[in-house]
């Protein structure tokens, strides 16, 4: 399996919320810095955080491109969040039910022993699409 294929499998597990599978992709001391600058330490923190995100939003991450030269994998990702409930504490800013947020991000993954040990995201483009007021 190539690193790119492995990454696609990881993203598929992420999208279907397969927490048991996700744990196998992370090093025990994984550090993830998400697009708004917040850091999540360890697999549990990452999984707990995104469980909370999924409770308030629908989201599927699409891999626009990814490539690697060994230790590092670079990925360009697109996703759109749809708020299925009011989310005043949403990481990128408050969302009301029906709001959409499009994010295009650049992410660097550092692997160690075939697990992601450091993941850092930078937002290239962020577009809010607010729900129409009733």
């Amino acid at each position: 399996m190539t690193p790119e294929q492995r990454f696609a499998d990881y993203m598929a597990a992420f999208n279907r919320g397969d927490e048991a599978a996700l744990r196998h992709y992370y090093a025990d001391d994984v550090r993830l810095v998400i697009g708004n600058g917040r850091e999540l330490l360890g697999p549990k923190a990452i999984i707990d955080f995104y469980r909370g995100v999924k409770a308030k939003t629908q989201r599927t991450i699409e891999i626009v491109q990814c490539f690697t030269d060994g230790e590092w994998l670079a990925a360009e990702l697109e996703s759109e969040f749809l708020a299925i409930a009011d989310a005043p504490d949403f990481a990128s800013g408050p969302m009301r039910r029906g709001d959409r947020l499009y994010i295009n991000s650049f992410v660097l993954y550092e692997s160690r022993d075939d697990r992601y040990a450091r993941i850092r995201a930078a937002v290239f483009k962020r577009e809010w699409r607010r729900a129409q007021s009733p």
């Binding site: 491109q65 490539f67 650049f106 850092r120 937002v123």
Partner: protein, 137 residues
């Protein structure tokens, strides 16, 4: 030497030319119709990119430092983590990333993706990496 290492050497020569103010040197890396989506400018075309950088280098000392390199020559892509250091030689209050005053030093870390075709950059896109204060990047 792997093809990725060759690509890295090619890219490092670009940085050396950029940091040295060698406009012919780093300009040769841009395709005629390069799409440039940087932090302070979004323009198209080598001439326009170089005009932008002439304006920048007239007012600021800008230095790029390569922190991480991910090269995939087979697909014509590379991604970098780059530290940019700006030192203003004069006030530039209209700078699109925020006014800067003479003597002020500003640093940022950016993730930059490059598309490459026929030995030139056809698209350059930069995203600011902004960990919250106190986070070890």
């Amino acid at each position: 030497m792997s093809t990725s290492e060759v690509l890295r050497g090619w890219f490092e020569a670009y940085l050396e030319a950029f940091n040295g103010g060698d406009f012919d040197g780093f300009g040769s890396y841009y395709a005629d119709d390069v799409i440039f989506q940087g932090q302070a400018a979004q323009v198209v075309g080598r001439t326009t990119v170089l005009d932008f950088y002439r304006e920048v280098k007239r007012r600021l000392d800008e230095r790029l430092e390569l922190l991480t390199f991910v090269g995939a020559p087979a697909v014509g892509r590379l991604a970098v983590e780059m530290r940019t250091t700006l030192i203003a030689r004069q006030d530039w209050l209209e700078l699109s990333t925020g006014p800067i005053r003479a003597g002020e030093r500003r640093q940022s870390v950016n993730f930059i993706f490059y598309d490459i075709a026929d030995g030139r950059f056809t698209r350059i896109r930069s995203a600011r990496f902004s960990p919250l204060p106190g986070i070890r990047p």
